[in-house]
Amino acid sequence: MPQLSREEVLAKVRQILAGDFSIPPDKIAPAATFRGTLGMDSLDAVDLIFFVESAFGYKARVHDYRDLHSVDSLVSFVLARLATHG
């Protein structure tokens, strides 16, 4: 996958959250928290991991995501994964 910018990763994550979780796009700000702002629960989180990994073409352990609480932190995680694992 070609090098993606932060904006491109954010756009894709927003697309997943809006499309697959029916979350209104205006709520999906970088600072939005999954549990608080977006009203997601733990099972949603498991599904989100599946969609994100499918979209960006990498695989990580579920435990690696445990400290990610906001959209922005997920974007940073994806960028780091793509940088180290191509």
Partner: protein, 495 residues
């Protein structure tokens, strides 16, 4: 009155509503996640065209003015698809939660039709297969949810004596759904998408204040390795359906091209005659039973006791085997619990029990006592005593101390020439027989002790001691072990 065209159009519309579960969009999302929907899962398991559905058009009774907001989720079938079918020609009762309807949470209407299915299964003594994907009880229905799950759990318990109950956890499995899974006989989970727990992370956080990840509360590794509630972890749903078909096949005899008198000379190469050397007992099982017939269950939990279904001359047998690769084959609290549960399954399947013994004893120590080695050891003994099917044991090498629980209740005891049966291990028995060694023994004392030691070993530490004493019925050649086991099981079934 409506004419046929109108009636059939209405029927087609109702069928479409039933097939679409919680909506085609939600179903599409399931597929995008690589997961099946309720009817797709059932279709993937059962014989084509064999599914006869019950309660296909059932609706819950909550009206539009209901304050729980359930009116928006009034879908035919009420989030549960169930019915009778066949798997490889054998009848089963099967149900699948529909995760697209309120995440598969069970309401009163769904519970009522599930109770009907369980009653039908119990009356006919046919296996029940659950394809679980449920948030538990439908809390919005308040008392109706509790009453509904209560009735389901009461039937699940009653069925324990009558029908094999298998669960493939395809997704979330919470509260009552988790209980009904573990009240059954076997549970399999799918990597990355199955979670089985009584209390979810939200309630855990509220009650304990601790953030706990969902996979730590009930993911496959937890239940496969630590709690023992999961007997197999599969990479995806289709592997899960194949697992269910393999297990269901053990409910009936099967054909085999493997001769029952096939020599097994490889046992002498697999099992070192030196009792201190380890080996993989699963290779022994593979050599003894019909080729390719082994289905190990609970492999990751208490691996010091292997439990597996297999076939011997086409007949289903339940194998328990000490595994020298783990804890030297010692029994412990977890292995006892695993063995007891497996014996209950053997009894339900009517499967003769074959126990391969190479056990140095029970694992000693305070930790084991605290973990309940005594009550669980007793449970294992009771399970052997109550299994109700023929029990044959083959002592491969050691059968020491409390480890003799594996052979006490056997109807027939066989042994290889390497076998040693004793109330305790050789070193400990010598300590008792010879007494404590003097701190500074004289040469004469040392010589006398060596003489007594050699004499004790000559009299007690050989493969024939237990046979001469009558505890072991026959000492057999490892190359003849498969034929001997088959002969012994067959003779007990005829007796």
């Amino acid at each position: 009155m409506a004419d046929w065209d109108e009636l059939l159009a209405e029927l087609r519309a109702q069928d479409e509503r039933a097939d679409s579960g919680g909506g085609r969009a939600r179903q599409a999302r399931q597929r995008k996640l690589g997961r099946g929907n309720a009817r797709e899962r059932i279709a993937a398991l059962v014989d084509a065209g064999s599914f006869s559905e019950l309660g296909r058009h059932v609706l819950h009774a909550h009206a539009a003015d209901d304050d729980a907001g359930l009116a928006a989720h009034r879908h035919p079938g009420d989030g549960l698809v169930c019915g009778l079918a066949t798997v490889d020609g054998r009848p089963v009762a099967v149900y699948a939660h529909d995760p697209t309807v309120l995440r598969g949470a069970l309401g009163r209407a769904g519970a009522d039709k599930l109770c009907r299915l369980l009653d039908l299964a119990g009356e006919r003594r046919i296996p029940v297969v659950t394809l679980a994907d449920s948030d538990g009880a439908r809390i919005a229905e308040v008392l109706g949810a509790i009453e509904g799950y209560g009735a389901v759990i009461e039937r699940t318990i009653r069925l324990r004596r009558r029908s094999l109950q298998l669960t493939l956890a395809c997704g979330l499995c919470v509260g009552g759904a988790a209980y009904t899974a573990v009240l059954g006989d076997l549970v399999a989970m799918v990597e990355g998408q199955s979670f089985l727990f009584l209390t979810g992370d939200k309630v855990t956080r509220v009650v304990t204040g601790a953030e706990t990840a969902i996979e730590d509360l009930g993911g496959p590794p937890l239940h496969a390795k630590k709690t023992g509630a999961c007997h197999s972890v599969l990479p995806d749903e289709s592997a899960g359906f194949a697992w269910l078909r393999r297990v269901l096949a053990f409910t009936a005899p099967g054909a085999t091209a493997d001769p029952t008198d096939r020599p097994t000379p490889e046992l002498a190469a697999i099992i070192p005659s030196d009792a201190r050397k380890i080996y993989d007992v699963r290779r022994v099982i593979d050599a003894l039973v019909d080729a390719g017939s082994v289905e190990e269950l609970g492999a990751a939990f208490a691996p010091n006791l292997v439990t597996a279904l297999a076939r011997l001359g086409g007949r289903t047998v339940a194998i328990l085997a000490s595994q020298p690769q783990h804890l030297g084959g010692c029994l412990d609290a977890n292995a006892s619990r695993k063995g007891a549960d497996f014996l209950a399954l053997a009894g339900k399947l009517g499967a003769p029990v074959v126990t391969l013994v190479d056990v140095p004893g029970y694992l000693p120590g305070r930790k084991q006592e605290e973990e309940g080695v005594l009550p669980f050891g007793a449970r294992l003994l009771v399970a052997y005593g109550e299994v109700g099917t023929p029990r044959v044991c083959l002592v491969l090498r050691k059968s020491y101390g409390g480890g003799n629980v594996l052979s006490y209740t056997a109807d027939v005891r066989l042994a290889l020439p390497t076998a040693r049966v004793a109330p305790m291990g050789v070193d400990a028995a010598l300590e008792v027989a010879l007494g404590p060694e003097p701190e500074q023994p004289t040469d004469a004392e040392r010589e006398e002790r060596a003489r007594r030691r050699a004499e004790w070993l000559r009299r007690h530490d050989h493969g024939w001691a237990a046979a001469e004493g009558g505890y072991v019925d026959r000492v057999i050649d490892p190359a003849d072990a498969r034929r001997q086991l088959h002969l012994t099981v067959a003779s007990l079934l005829l007796a």
